[in-house]
């Protein structure tokens, strides 16, 4: 490619074009004006979505990235524009979401002078990014943009932040986009080769195996490889919140989510197993319960792209470091060979125990004889009315856990949520990003009244672009999950968890030119869901009044052993 003279701002825009960016979420401001001026006359003009708060831009980029597997892009100006992006950056870092975040900063000579709208944003984002850059020369922009996209999408994906002082955006450079990247410290060679035969031997000799799927299956795009492996091994499959949908939850082997709000049968299976094959997972405290009592008899095979996750919390008997998509088929082949040479282990007695637990302790909805709508009922009815064929996004809280329990996902990239950071307000922005990514898909948000109010101003964005997202708010007039902890562990002292019946969500929806609906009683529920699903002209907000006292069960109290659950029996 011949070199071309252009400004730093134009170089940023050109790099975004060359990376094939489909949507950019952002908001202009004083220091980032040069980039917005360059966008105005570029092909990106129609690809930029003006959000009403930078946090929403970040989460929308996450929703886009989750739904597509591609890198999400968001932008903000210096100072508050950049600090508003801190939450989505931290969220993407915890959940390994590939993002490129671009911010402008005050002109280089002003840095360090406490200038207007100055913030040491690279200092702030350093521990919550996969990597970040403060650009010091305009000539570096093409290389850094290329590196940023490469780092964001490869290995264990994550957010990469590029901060560019305004004067550098205005400087002229000779633009040449590099074809390759050279980052000598990135993904150092392994110290030892993966011991695949050892792992296969463990699988062959196990009589109570269990396969644990995490979000790494999604970020590693290894759905087919995981499916083949799971069917070959024939073991029960449990998933994390982010593992949902990486293996069909409708498959007879799938015990669905385990952990703090997992089913009893999934947790019992993990706790009683003699071998756990963890694929793309990190043994988060919300899935292991008390570490010292986690799966006490289990050996651990841990296949993971990030070497720093190996034996961080649970010691791996056989660590397998590498890309799931490349490494897992090798393990599958080795297991197949050992099975054909020595026969397949007899898992029938193990499955008998697992099936007994599943029959004895199913996830139940106790709606019968209950006058008020139960939140679980609402989720189940929405699922039934659309046959589960939707991309679901959630906020964070009780509604999120009910959605995880009762929204059955049979396809990957169809359940988009904030796991590691647990960011309330995630639902609406993620729905915006997912709907833009998949314009023909049915995008449903399952949100809580507390969570929704954290980012609701961006109904304006959804409405402006006539995105037919449907946000179902399970409204219990409480910060429900915190209320549950207060009821169980703080002797019902409901300190600051009741939420006033504000705003009127139907009127609010109408103020933003959205369809607003409400269901207060069970007979109103089905018609309202049907009306919402049929509405295609723009966003729809549904206020579903649910029983405030309903809790998420079963529950493993924080720090308790995984098999030590409250409720749900």
């Amino acid at each position: 490619m011949p070199k071309e003279k252009m400004t730093g701002a134009c170089a940023v825009v050109r790099a975004l074009e060359l990376e094939g960016v489909e949507w950019i979420f952002g908001m202009p401001g004083g220091t980032i004006l040069p980039i917005y001026d360059a966008i105005y006359t570029s092909s990106l003009k129609d690809k930029h979505i003006l959000i009403r708060h930078e946090q929403v831009g970040g989460h929308a980029a996450e929703g886009y990235a989750h739904a597509t597997g591609k890198v999400g892009v968001c932008m903000g100006t210096s100072g508050p524009g950049s600090t508003n992006l801190v939450t989505p950056i931290a969220d993407a870092h915890m959940d390994s979401v590939p993002l490129v975040v671009i911010t402008a900063n005050v002109a280089a000579p002003l840095i360090g002078t406490d200038a207007f709208q100055e913030a040491d944003i690279t200092g702030i984002t350093m521990p919550i990014t996969k990597h970040n850059y403060l650009v010091t020369e305009a000539e570096e922009i093409p290389r850094i943009m290329k590196e940023a996209f490469h780092l964001a999408r490869t290995g264990r994906p994550g957010p990469v932040h590029v901060d560019i002082p305004k004067d550098i955006l205005n400087k002229t450079l000779d633009f040449e986009y590099p074809e390759t990247v050279s980052v000598p410290g990135y993904m150092p060679p392994l110290r030892e080769a993966p011991r695949i035969p050892d792992a296969a031997m463990l699988i062959r000799s196990s009589t109570r195996p269990c396969i644990y799927l995490g979000g790494g299956v999604r970020t590693g795009n290894a759905f087919a490889e995981v499916f083949e492996f799971c069917e070959l091994v024939g073991a029960p499959v449990v998933t994390t919140l982010h593992g949902k949908g990486t293996f069909p939850e409708t498959h007879p082997q799938c015990l669905r989510m385990f952990g703090m709000h997992g089913s009893r049968y999934a947790n019992y299976t993990v706790q009683n197993s003699d071998l756990i094959v963890a694929l793309g997972a990190r043994f988060d405290d919300r899935v292991t319960g008390r570490l010292s009592t986690f799966a006490p008899e289990a050996k651990i095979i841990h296949l993971e792209v990030d070497p720093a996750e190996i034996s961080k919390l649970v010691t791996a008997t056989v660590p397998l470091v590498g890309d799931l998509k490349e490494l897992l088929p090798q393990l599958t082949a080795e297991v197949r060979a050992i099975f054909s040479a020595r026969g397949q282990p007899d898992l029938a007695p193990w499955w008998q125990r697992v099936s007994d637990w599943r029959e004895k302790h199913p996830l139940r909805i106790r709606q019968e004889g209950e006058a008020q709508i139960l939140p679980q009922t609402a989720i189940e009815r929405i699922w039934q009315k659309c046959g589960g064929r939707a991309i679901v996004t959630t906020g964070v809280g009780a509604h999120q856990m009910w959605a995880a329990q009762f929204w059955v996902v049979s396809q990957p990239r169809r359940f988009i949520t904030s796991g590691g950071l647990g960011t309330m307000g995630f639902c609406l922005p993620a729905a915006i990003g997912a709907q833009l990514a998949c314009p023909d898909a049915l995008v449903i948000g399952i949100d809580g009244d507390g969570s929704f109010q954290m980012t609701l101003q961006d109904l304006a964005t959804a409405s402006e672009h006539k995105l037919p997202i449907k946000i179902f708010i399970l409204n219990n007039l409480f910060l429900g999950m915190v209320r549950q902890w207060q009821e169980l562990f703080y002797e019902e002292r409901f300190s600051e968890t009741p939420l006033a019946d504000l705003p009127d969500l139907v009127k609010l929806a109408e103020a933003y030119s959205c369809l607003g609906l409400r269901a207060r009683t069970l007979p109103e529920l089905d018609p309202v869901i049907e009306k919402a699903l049929a509405y295609r002209e723009g966003p729809c907000v549904v206020d579903i009044r649910v029983k405030a006292e309903e809790k998420v069960y079963p529950m493993v109290p924080a720090g308790a052993p995984l098999h030590d659950m409250i409720g749900g029996d």
Partner: protein, 178 residues
């Protein structure tokens, strides 16, 4: 059985040698990483290497809960970090520099010179009522010197933190230079 991480009361000291890219904010990135993960830095020394694009850091870290291999892997995950190695006691040459100022009447200077000689230390500044001693060597030797001089009243002291290299031919280097 799942092995549990060993819990040590005061923790063990480990010397880590890091080869890092010589770029802005690398020190902040690495120092910040230690605090974010809850590891205590005992000392940290950084300086240029035989190749201008790289710096070498020697970090002595006290670990109570996590295995040192995990710390190494977490550091190697940082993009500007090329390679990290723990230097075992028998495989390393470790040195530290100390400057010690002692406020003491001239009549004691002869005795202090004798002590300095024993520790292969030098008197680098002398005034009528004070002198400064420079010494280098392994940390234990400097600790012993400090104890010996404490009797005379140390008024100011500055230690560089350890620097270390591995014995023999092995080096830390970027993959393309190995």
């Amino acid at each position: 059985m799942v092995e549990k991480t060993e819990q040590l009361p005061n923790g063990n000291l480990h010397t880590l040698s890091l080869l890092v890219e010589n770029k802005p904010a690398v020190l902040q990135r690495i120092a910040g990483h230690f605090s974010r993960r809850g590891y205590n830095i005992e000392s940290l020394a950084v300086g240029p290497t035989e190749r201008p694009q790289y710096s070498r850091m020697t970090v002595v870290v006290r670990l109570t809960q996590r295995p040192v291999q995990l710390v190494v892997r977490q550091l190697e995950k940082l993009i500007p970090v090329i390679e990290v190695r723990e230097l075992a006691a028998q495989d390393k040459i470790e040195r530290e520099l100390v400057l010690i100022k002692i406020r003491t009447p001239e009549k004691n200077h002869a005795e202090l010179r004798a002590i300095a000689d024993t520790y292969e230390a030098q008197i680098v500044d002398v005034s009528p009522d004070a002198l400064m001693i420079e010494a280098s060597g392994p940390a234990a030797k400097l600790d012993a010197l400090e104890d010996r001089l404490a009797l005379f009243g140390i008024t100011e002291l500055c230690r560089s933190g350890a620097i270390a290299l591995e014995r023999g031919f092995k080096t830390l280097a970027p993959p393309h230079m190995k």
